[in-house]
């Protein structure tokens, strides 16, 4: 069974906060849920499916279902890190196609900025992890697990720090138009290269921001989408993958997007060259470069040349990306960037992005995320959307 055309994204909301020490995480989830329902023109009583991941407090989705006052007949707390919410869009479409729910709510929220959590600290994933004894002693943190991917890419394909910096430069060009973005100053390649080295070869400006905030999406069946007043955003295809260390045959030259991307394109029955706008998870500059190659926007190894010279800047380059400023400049709520990727893709397809970055005739968009660690093990999710 394909999900192509079986469901629509009818509501999207990005919380405007970037620092919320006076709000609880559950409260942020609720505020995002209300925002997305208002955007869709639906109410709490319309929701019969709920999706959240590890940022939601409690046992799976149970505590949040109770807190939000939801009456659901379908739930899913799949957690693939920052990519989870892109997978949730697909799972919601599957559930709708199977008749398990009509209106699905997806929420993400968190306050890592207020709680002082960043990518240079080890995360605690609990006891009994089989990989822990062989990795945790080495202080494998978020940033160095991505840095080793970048270092290998440079060795294998000749990619340069200047080329990676162009990804941040493009994001900053977009963020200057976003009043909510944490970093609105336009930066240059030199600014990136002159920022402090965090973990070779990634500089401070190769890393995304740490922000509080959240977002929510509403996915609904076609009959419901048809009677709402918002522009229609159809789900055309989706793919998922999990990639790890391959039993010790470690290969850092590709990400899970090499699997999830082709699955999504096949289901959508389109090609990468058809995509007018791409939201690409940007935890680090290298994350973007890897996914662009793996999705087929350029050949493997040519990502450095592809992203250089403003090719990702809306109105300038061939593939406008992350026109909200992305995780690199706008926000990265809960240290998970998946939902904001879908939200900006929805804005582009509706024609509701900032006029300075709105892609003309934007009829096909893609949202791609990885979650976990590109350098050890991660999930990947791709979704392809169409304006109808």
């Amino acid at each position: 069974m394909s999900i192509n055309g079986k469901a629509y994204i009818v509501g999207a909301y990005e919380h405007p906060t970037r620092k919320a020490p006076d709000k609880s995480v559950a409260q942020l989830h609720a505020e995002c849920a209300r925002g997305a329902l208002e955007d869709a023109g639906l109410t709490l009583q319309d929701v019969d499916g709920y999706f959240c991941a590890g940022d939601a407090p409690g046992l799976g989705m149970i505590n949040m279902v109770d807190y939000l006052g939801l009456k659901v007949r379908h739930v899913d707390s799949t957690d693939t890190g920052g990519s989870a919410y892109i997978a949730h869009v697909s799972h919601a479409a599957q559930a709708i196609a199977a008749g398990k729910c009509n209106v699905a709510l997806i929420t993400l929220a968190g306050r890592p900025r207020s709680e002082g959590s960043s990518g240079t600290q080890a995360r605690n994933w609990g006891a009994n992890l089989p990989d822990q004894p062989f990795e945790a002693p080495y202080n494998a943190v978020t940033v160095n697990l991505y840095a080793m991917v970048a270092m290998r890419h440079m060795f294998q394909y000749g990619t340069t720090s200047e080329q990676l910096a162009w990804i941040k430069v493009a994001a900053s060009h977009h963020a200057q138009h976003n009043p909510h973005a944490m970093l609105r100053e336009v930066v240059t390649v030199d600014d990136v290269l002159n920022s402090p080295m965090i973990s070779d070869p990634l500089h401070k400006l190769d890393c995304c921001v740490v922000s509080d905030g959240g977002g929510a999406l509403i996915v609904a069946r076609p009959e419901i989408a048809a009677r709402l007043k918002r522009p229609k955003v159809k789900i055309l295809g989706a793919g998922e993958a999990v990639k790890g260390q391959l039993g010790g045959e470690v290969d850092l030259s590709w990400s899970g997007a090499a699997i999830s991307g082709p699955i999504a394109f096949e289901e959508a029955r389109i090609r990468p060259s058809d995509i007018k706008y791409a939201s690409i998870y940007d935890s680090f500059t290298i994350t973007v470069l890897m996914q662009l190659e793996d999705l087929g926007f350029c050949k493997k190894g040519e990502g450095g040349r592809f992203v250089a010279d403003g090719n990702l800047i809306s109105g300038v380059g061939k593939l406008p990306f992350n026109t909200d400023g992305g995780g690199l400049c706008n926000n990265h709520p809960a240290n998970r960037g998946g939902i904001t990727k879908v939200i900006e893709a929805v804005r582009q397809l509706r024609g509701e992005a900032h006029p300075a970055v709105q892609v003309k005739n934007c009829d096909l968009a893609l949202a791609q995320g990885t979650g976990g660690y590109l350098g050890s093990r991660h999930g990947s999710a791709t979704v392809i959307l169409e304006r109808e």
């Binding site: 004894p133 945790a136 080495y138 290998r152 060795f155 965090i198 973990s199 470690v250």
Partner: protein
């Protein structure tokens, strides 16, 4: 520029029932790798059932010689810089580790390295690697 290696005790590994032999060997300065008794392939990190075929596996001692597959000198995630790396062992598997006992700015992909062990806070030592040739 040079970034000297600073000897620092590492975080202790969580010793589990299926890897106690590994840590006993580590205390003796030996690196063990798990090999499959059915398909014959080595794998990393160690599991009792083979991740390629689900066959039973057994410990074999590794030579301790390897090549750096990738690395990163992490400068802002602790009191002193350290070099995290993936090293491909002669036996074919690639493992996460640290590069130690050298100027960290001289570390390169493709460099030959040899096994050494680094103490942990209150557990067994963990395998790390130093350049095979001094300098």
């Amino acid at each position: 520029m040079s970034t000297p290696y600073t000897a620092t005790p590492l975080k202790s590994p969580q010793v589990a029932p299926d890897n106690t032999a590994f840590w006993e060997a580590a205390r003796e300065g030996r690196l063990l790798v798990r090999h499959c008794k059915s398909c014959g392939k080595p794998h990393w990190y160690p599991r009792t059932l083979c991740p390629f075929c689900m066959g039973d596996t057994e410990w074999k001692q590794a030579s301790g010689r390897g090549t750096i597959y990738s690395f990163s000198v992490t400068r802002r995630a602790g009191p002193t810089p350290f070099c995290i790396a993936y090293v491909t062992l002669e036996e074919g598997v690639t493992m996460m580790t640290h590069i130690v006992d050298c100027d960290l700015d001289t570390v390169r992909i493709g460099q030959k390295v040899k096994l050494t062990f680094t103490p942990t806070e209150d557990g067994p030592p963990v395998p790390t690697f130093a350049p095979a040739e001094a300098g």
